[in-house]
């Protein structure tokens, strides 16, 4: 592998998909830049009330 490979990853989007990808990458030993357009992460799921089947608050 060439020496100029960089051990960091950019994840574009801070909704559940982006957050999960970022967590997996960080826990796997890669530095992550999580880039989100809005002022906070959470995405669409944070607007939901409860989710099936656990009825957990989506928050």
């Amino acid at each position: 592998m060439p020496k100029n490979v960089i051990g960091s990853v950019m994840v574009a989007g801070g909704g559940i998909a982006g957050m999960q990808a970022a967590l997996d990458l960080a826990d796997s030993g890669y530095y992550v830049y999580l880039v989100e357009k809005g002022p906070s992460i959470g995405g669409r799921m944070s607007q939901l009330d409860k989710t099936f089947p656990t009825n957990d608050c989506a928050m």
Binding site: V5, A12, G13, Y30, S40
Partner: protein, 886 residues
């Protein structure tokens, strides 16, 4: 969302991360008109800076993951629903906010008309902005709306009572996810949600009221009207133009629906090397599927960087732990309001004030949201400033929030076991909302009990263990191989254990994918890569005979043709797959013209010359699926049959092809195949469970009788081929499930850690799952989940060491009577007899195997076993505290 107004300076919501105010430049008077600036004047910390300019930063990275998400379809342009005009026509996203306790109506379901009345009748309209080429350009199925509409209807009934009338107007009910079919069944049978198969024509306001008249056409063509108080539009998911423009800029290929173009065998790889995709840009999908392919994208992005792992990461600094030995307890109590969830019922300040009066309590306060990031920081600071050495949080459930608060303790230098939670939400404010006074009293009781217990808590230690960096994958089908490939590419030795004598699993029987790829060609490429990879070891004709050990250090016994060996590994992935049901109905087995879906695939694979000479072919869907004994949808069969119907039409355009179905479930962009099939003359006829098609063989003729749902008449079709879309049956393996202590559901599929957020892992540490052992799924989803299971596994393997729990049982050999009950009762094989020394033959407990369940403690007749953190004195202190008066 525009339901209520917010200010220009705002936080998105109370638990937002980061919890920082920002200014909405579009509505700020200062930014727009250069006047006001009040926020700058009033901000005590001088945080408002109007001179901030956009800056461009350049990041150098090894790979990129795209997860920009979707936007809900905007139904304003549909004039027949009058969304923009009528206040009581709302979108499903708006209804989610109305249901939410932190929403504009505080969770009280009311109409948005000026009277704010409670609705008595609510209707949901499905497929708004999906499966629609007439009024919008979204021909795909959004895949999530059927299920969310049912969920909203059931929750609305929970809010307003069973008298609330909920009606869902739909074309096909697409509940193809895990446990969805049962939920659908229950919504209809138990909750009385009405499901109306129809096409909605229009909505008109009832004169002088805000009520709404719905005109719709039933399946048999009749025009009906009904009046509702509120209409919820089940809007679809779409990719916003700015996202698709961005993708085009990156030169990433998109599909007709503007989703990212991916191949079935590399479902998260974009057309551009080094750029991966997950979430809705990959295709419309629900939360668990998004979680699966985001883990898949993570491993795909990591695989190409495996050699430089750990070169850019930093290790968090550990706060040194303070010693509490010989210190008197100094307890801090934090009572959470949980917004209105607790404070709406319980007098939270009174509970905090009461807590301050309890013995050893040095500090007590209340928080708006204890789980928010800034509150966490404040709590850590308070613990340090006040020298607290025990903490009680009275809030929600420890099941979801204990780890978070324990981390706060650790950040303040306090051992994480010097902590107790009082659940004053789930077990109090939620269930006693009609009795606020008693609920406040109960909250005080719960807090007092927790305080008495925490005072007796002692710091506990966790053992650090090395993780064996080897993985074992059980099952050599598509998803097992995908998992093994990712693990090996990430640099870990991987063993595939396969019962059969070849790799490939069910994919060996499949002809082509929904995207038109040749399965056998792609499969042999994958098998080739697996067989030649240096880090992958394939064990064929091999069975698992026993499993010992635990996360990081498993020892699995393998048996292959009489040869036994032991495999040591750190993690295990269950990819045991599924098989097709062998049907016992529709005269299967009595005539060679009656075949299963996979038998038809075999004919295609072998290029059966007889296929093109058929005059008529009939497909019957849901053979064994969605029936009382198998209340799940097999997910793959609709797309499979529709695609095979198209293949037959391709071989012979004059062939009469019929698909007899109950609901056509071509979710996502698979819908385009359904559309194509209808355009090419495939005839779709719906049947019901009560009135299944009849198959007869008379004088050598194969006859299928069914009732046509449109004209309401019985049709008899003479056919040359009858293909049965049989159910997908998991390869239920109770022995294996027992070996790894992982649960199976009633249908025989494995039960994952969390249906939404942990679909590819078990609650048992170090054990993961993927493919059809989880739920029926097509190849692309099986591969994605194989990659996801690998990704979750790598997060563990990359840590190299793990800590065990401190909450474990310990024996007192002086009291042990050697009865052996603990040894026989433990589901984790943690207790054993000491072999030699002064306490020989007494019981001991392996701290690494112990899960802290307490079974041995309760069953010990000598009282010789103590569960750390739940010892007798701690529990009794809690119980005695209950009897004290407030």
């Amino acid at each position: 969302m525009g339901i209520v107004k917010r200010k220009s300076a705002y936080v998105e919501y109370a638990q937002a991360v980061p919890l920082k105010y920002c200014i909405d430049g579009d509505s700020c008077i200062y930014i727009q008109k250069g006047k006001c600036g009040a926020c700058k004047k009033f901000c005590p910390t001088g945080a408002v800076d109007f001179d901030q300019k956009e800056v461009t930063e350049t990041l150098k990275v090894g790979s990129v993951v795209l997860a920009p998400g979707f936007r809900p379809f905007d139904p304003s342009k549909f004039d027949n629903y009058q969304y923009a005009k009528l206040p009581n026509v709302i979108t499903a996203m708006e209804f989610e906010r109305i249901l939410s306790a932190s929403g504009p109506t505080m969770g009280h379901v009311t109409c948005l008309s000026k009277d704010e009345k409670e609705p008595k009748k609510i209707a949901w309209f499905q497929c708004v902005g999906s499966r629609d080429m007439n009024k919008c350009d979204n021909s795909y199925c959004s895949g999530v709306c059927c299920m969310y509409a049912i969920k909203e209807a059931v929750i609305a009934k929970e809010h307003l009572g069973d008298a609330l009338d909920c009606a869902i107007f739909f074309m096909d009910m697409r509940t193809h996810g895990k446990e969805f079919e049962r939920f659908y069944e229950n919504a209809s049978e138990k909750h009385g949600v009405r499901f109306i198969r129809s096409k909605v024509h229009s909505v008109t306001p009832v004169t002088n009221t805000d009520d709404l008249e719905v005109r719709y056409v039933t399946e048999d063509g009749e025009l009906q009207t009904e009046i509702f108080d509120m209409i919820v539009l089940s809007v679809g998911l779409e990719i916003s133009p700015e996202v698709s423009d961005f993708a085009k800029q990156l030169k990433i290929d998109l599909t007709p629906g503007n989703f990212c173009q991916t191949a079935t065998f590399s479902p998260v790889q974009t057309s551009k090397e080094g750029i991966f995709v997950c979430g809705t840009l990959q295709g419309p999908k629900d939360i668990p599927q998004a979680i699966i392919d985001s883990s898949a994208a993570a491993t795909a992005a990591g695989e190409i960087l495996a050699e430089v792992r750990h070169t850019r990461t930093k290790t968090a600094e550990k706060v040194p732990e303070i010693s509490v030995t010989n210190e008197r307890p100094k307890i801090g109590v934090f009572v959470c309001r949980c917004g209105v969830n607790i404070a709406g019922v319980v007098d939270v300040p009174a509970v905090a004030e009461y807590a301050a009066s309890l013995p050893y309590v040095e500090y007590a306060t209340d928080n708006l949201y204890s789980c928010s990031q800034d509150t966490q920081e404040t709590m850590a600071q308070i613990i340090k400033d006040k020298n607290l050495n025990r903490v009680v949080v009275a809030a929600c459930t420890p099941k979801t929030h204990e780890p978070l608060f324990q981390e706060t303790l650790v950040n303040a230098g306090v051992n994480k076991y010097l902590f107790e939670m009082a659940n004053i939400r789930n077990q109090n404010s939620w269930v006693h909302k009609n009795n606020p006074e008693l609920a406040t009293k109960k909250a005080k009781d719960l807090v007092r009990m927790a305080v008495h217990k925490v005072a007796l808590m002692e710091p506990l230690e966790e053992a650090e263990l090395q993780i064996n960096p080897t993985a074992m994958v059980v099952g050599g089908g598509i998803s097992g191989m995908a998992a093994a490939r990712s693990l090996a590419r990430q640099g870990y030795e991987t063993h595939i254990i396969e019962k059969k004598s070849q790799l490939g699993g069910q994919a060996l029987n499949l002809y082509r994918t929904a995207k038109g790829e040749d399965v056998q060609e792609k499969l042999s490429d994958l098998i080739g890569e697996i067989e030649t990879h240096k880090k992958i070891h394939v064990h064929l004709d091999t069975e698992i005979t026993d499993v010992e050990g635990f996360v990081g250090n498993f020892e699995t016994g393998l048996s292959s043709n009489g040869t036994e060996e032991t495999l040591e590994h750190g993690i295990a992935i269950m990819a045991t797959g599924a098989t097709p049901l062998q049907p016992v109905e529709y005269s299967y087995g009595k005539d060679s013209r009656i075949v299963t879906a996979l038998e038809l695939d075999r004919k295609f694979i072998e290029n059966d010359s007889g296929l093109k000479d058929l005059n008529t072919a009939v497909f019957i869907q849901c053979v064994g699926s969605r029936e009382p004994e198998r209340m799940y949808c097999s997910r793959v069969c609709c797309t499979h049959s529709v695609d095979n119907a198209l293949q037959l039409k391709k071989l012979n355009p004059d062939m009469n092809v019929f698909v007899l179905y109950r609901d056509l479930r071509t979710y996502g962009e698979r819908e385009l195949l359904y559309k194509q099939a209808r355009e090419q003359g495939v005839i779709f006829i719906r049947y019901t469970l009560e009135n299944k098609p009849q198959v007869n063989i008379e004088n050598g003729k194969l006859l299928v009788k069914t009732v046509d749902h449109v004209i309401g008449r019985t049709l008899e079709i003479e056919t040359d081929l009858l293909a049965l879309a049989t159910a997908v049956i998991p390869n239920r393996d109770d022995k294996l499930a027992n070996f790894f202590k992982v649960p199976l559901n009633d249908d025989g599929f494995f039960v994952e850690r969390h249906a939404k957020l942990g679909p590819s892992e078990f609650a048992t540490d170090g054990v993961f799952l993927c493919g059809m052992a989880h739920y029926p799924k097509p190849i692309d989803e099986s591969i994605a989940q194989g990659q996801a299971a690998a990704s979750r596994g790598v997060t563990l393997l990359a840590r190299e060491t793990i800590f065990t729990s401190g909450t474990i049982a310990e024996t007192d050999p002086m009291l042990c009577s050697q009865c052996g009950v603990c040894v026989s009762v433990c589901p984790y094989s943690a207790p054993s007899f000491i072999e030699e020394g002064p306490f020989a033959e007494k019981a001991q407990i392996n701290p690494v195997l112990c899960k802290g369940c307490g079974l041995c403690v309760a069953s010990c007749r000598s009282g010789a076993i103590h569960l750390k953190g739940f010892d007798n004195d701690q529990i009794f202190a809690q119980i005695y505290a209950l009897n004290e008066a407030v």
